[in-house]
């Protein structure tokens, strides 16, 4: 693997933002979910909740500048610390598999209805693995280009569909009971898998580490809220018939001779999925490298990509298994474990070590 140079605060924020928005485009459950306005209100609240949950981990990293979570764990716990990379590896593989399956499902439902999902999974993991193996920087720089393309695409969609927006479709949150709103909050907060990626990659940021979270948060809130509300206003009840409402919005966006540009939007979503896969391949690959012998560890990202591709290809045939994985993440357990509990344990064990001295 290429040695990793530092990336900037904005670059990491953009990577996390793209990853999050890809999840919303492809994998966020639909049709029986809460209203758009409800979701738009809870998204910023979940970001604040994420901030509070990440505080212990952030403090831990601040006290051990230049070291990542895995390094700190290795210092404190010795061999027992391997639970950390194992945890991150499993976590990353699950995210990768879920993303790849959703992506192939999306492609085979829209642009390529009669094609094998294996094709898309193998190819996209090939390119994502290549990007991840080149290090953080190329992925981060590629992310900047994708961000610009996404911004242009969103502007185009808004400009072409603004006159058709019917804001009466935005209903107040009272229609969603407290239970469903709480479930939404938990899913948004503890299902935010990018927080684990943030903690893992934060040491790679050269300056202004604290700014990463806020930049990512503000981008996410502004863009996600905007898209969710706009899509609801444009599609209305039609959104309930669509598995991918954002894709449906791109299907109806027309400006002069530019009609049916949904296939070009598919290209953009390929880029975004690549970013998400490359991001989590970095996390999974580096975690796996800690678990493998040194001779083999330089192939860690490739092994991680191959294993994830294989699993994803197999799981497309068993959507129930995939649903279980999705529900597990939506429940919040994995994120809570990796981003809150384990860092707290590390903080506590450090304090215990200091107390012993």
């Amino acid at each position: 693997m290429k040695g990793d140079s530092a990336i900037s605060s904005w670059q990491l924020a953009v990577l996390l933002f793209l990853s999050r928005i890809t999840y919303f485009f492809l994998a966020e459950p639909r049709s029986e979910g809460p209203q758009a306005l409800t979701a738009a209100i809870w998204i910023p609240i979940s970001i604040l909740a994420n901030f509070l949950l990440l505080l212990p981990a952030y403090l831990l990293l601040q006290k051990n500048k230049g070291k990542g979570l895995l390094d700190i764990a290795a210092e404190r716990w010795g061999r027992l610390s391997l639970i950390f990379p194992a945890g991150f590896l499993l976590f990353s593989v699950c995210v990768l598999v879920q993303t790849a399956c959703s992506f192939s499902y999306f492609l085979t439902s829209t642009a390529y209805p009669q094609s094998s999902p294996w094709l898309f999974i193998l190819l996209i993991f090939g390119v994502a693995g290549y990007a991840a193996s080149m290090g953080y920087e190329p992925t981060a720089r590629f992310g900047s280009f994708v961000f610009v393309a996404l911004s242009a695409a969103l502007l185009f969609v808004c400009a072409s569909l603004w006159p058709q927006a019917q804001w009466e479709f935005l209903r107040p949150p009272v229609y969603d009971g407290w239970q469903s709103q709480l479930q939404l909050f938990v899913r948004l907060t503890l299902g935010n898998v990018e927080t684990a990626a943030l903690l893992f990659l934060l040491p790679a940021v050269a300056k202004n580490k604290g700014g990463v979270f806020w930049r990512w948060g503000i981008l996410s809130v502004v863009v996600l809220d905007g898209i969710i509300l706009f899509a609801a206003a444009v599609l209305g009840d039609y959104a309930q018939t669509q598995r991918f409402p954002f894709y449906a919005v791109t299907k109806i966006a027309e400006l002069s001779i530019f009609q049916r540009l949904d296939s070009l939007h598919v290209a953009l979503w390929v880029f975004m999925t690549l970013v998400r896969l490359a991001l989590f391949l970095e996390v999974g690959g580096k975690s796996l490298a800690r678990l493998l012998p040194s001779k083999v560890s330089r192939y860690a990202i490739s092994i991680c990509a191959a294993a994830s591709a294989l699993l994803a290809g197999c799981l497309t045939r068993w959507p129930y298994a995939l649903e279980r994985v999705g529900n597990l993440f939506a429940g919040g357990g994995p994120v809570l474990l990796l981003t809150v509990l384990l860092p707290l344990l590390l903080l506590w064990s450090k304090r215990k070590g200091e107390a012993g001295q």
């Binding site: 094609s115 479709f169 209903r171 959104a239 449906a248 049916r260």
Partner: protein, 372 residues
């Protein structure tokens, strides 16, 4: 170099998956318009397909008609594929015409089928045929490369005179999903004039739960457009008892609806703002000055718009018990407490719904010969 090997391996492995099924352009039958009828339990599919080899001067140059039938729409589509050997391509379909029997039985099956097809555009215009969709599609049109464009241009002409309500697949599918709202479709028929073949719009049909509930004649259609806020740039003619007439060109119109609950019944307040220019005056109130005439035009226009809108609302809500305008969404947004309680009984209590219409008209200017 090793990274290249991995990438190459992934690419080679991907080849074993069979690649992506490709269809060349000359293997595609590009469908421009679809007609769907039902007869004796069988779906009859009529497709207007682009024919690149159509001879000039031929009445159907640029398009050929294909007819297939089946027990289900999918079966009919498969038969259509087999009949002409090319793969049916629905990505550029502009019109979907449903026959009367489909509307009587319910359009949900048809809309679901076409809506689920990834090729089909959600912005396809949906029409209802007065009798059979097949009759409209078989109508010989101008010999252009795009016969369906002729149909669309005619429809645009009707729209300019506010005699056409426009419904797209997306709107119809959404309305079908929401049990509280209905929808409307323009009704078309082959032109009665033999010298000028084409299609004509004969009104609008209101659908409740996907089934036809009633008809609107072309002059009544404008009221639906006012109430729905879908009036674009149209021309309105005001007639005087003494025989004079003035044509006003509407340049901007907007409708705002708010709802209150009075005596446990929704009360809709429809506020319409219209901005017009004087297009043509024919001996109308000539004794008045231009500005006085404009004031009169404004009052007349307000009365006319109010009358048309009220008539449309009364027919829809009271007579047909159908909220085809989607006012239920406004109710749900503005009166959530009421809506939560009465959502299920809303459609049953539409006859009791009350409304008032307020119109604000402004007539701004006329031609240089008319202005003082």
């Amino acid at each position: 170099m090793k990274k290249w090997r991995i990438l190459l391996l992934a690419f080679l492995l991907a080849l074993f998956t069979g690649c992506v099924r490709s269809v060349q352009l000359n293997e595609r039958a590009i469908v421009q318009a679809i007609g769907l009828d039902k007869e004796n339990g069988q779906y009859i599919l009529t497709l207007q397909i682009f024919d690149p080899e159509g001879e000039e001067g031929d009445e159907t140059a640029g398009g050929k008609i294909l007819r297939a039938q089946g027990k289900t729409i999918s079966q009919a589509m498969r038969k259509a594929n087999l009949q002409q050997g090319q793969e049916i391509f629905l990505g550029h379909t502009k019109l979907l015409i449903l026959g009367q029997e489909i509307a009587q039985e319910g359009v949900e099956t048809a809309i679901d089928y076409f809506g689920a097809d990834p090729q089909f555009r959600p912005t396809v215009d949906v029409l209802l045929a007065e009798t059979k969709a097949e009759d409209i599609l078989k109508e010989p049109l101008d010999s252009t490369i795009l016969p369906v464009l002729s149909a669309k241009m005619m429809l645009e002409g009707y729209r300019d005179s506010a005699q056409l309500v426009r419904t797209q697949l997306q709107g119809l599918a959404g309305a079908l999903k929401n049990p509280a709202v209905g929808s409307y479709l323009p009704v078309a028929a082959p032109s009665a004039e033999e010298e000028n073949p084409g299609i004509q719009v004969v009104g609008a049909a209101v659908l409740r739960n996907g089934k036809k509930a009633g008809d609107f004649l072309p002059p009544e259609t404008r009221g639906i457009l006012w109430a729905a806020g879908q009036v674009g740039k149209i021309q309105m003619t005001l007639e005087e008892e003494g025989g004079g007439a003035v044509t006003l060109e509407v340049v901007d119109a907007s409708t705002r609806v708010s709802v209150q609950i009075r005596d446990d019944v929704p009360f809709y307040e429809v506020f319409i703002r219209v901005q017009s220019n004087v297009s043509e005056e024919l001996a109308y109130a000539q004794e008045l000055s231009f500005s006085q005439r404009c004031e009169r035009y404004e009052r007349e226009q307000e009365r006319l718009v109010e009358r048309e809108t009220l008539h449309a609302l009364e027919r829809l809500f009271h007579e047909l018990s159908c909220d085809a305008l989607g006012y239920a969404n406004i109710l749900a947004q503005q009166q959530p407490a009421y809506w939560k309680e009465h959502q299920k009984s809303y459609t049953g209590s539409l006859e009791q719904v009350d409304f008032c219409v307020t119109v604000e008209s402004s007539v701004n200017r006329g031609g240089s010969a008319l202005a003082e």
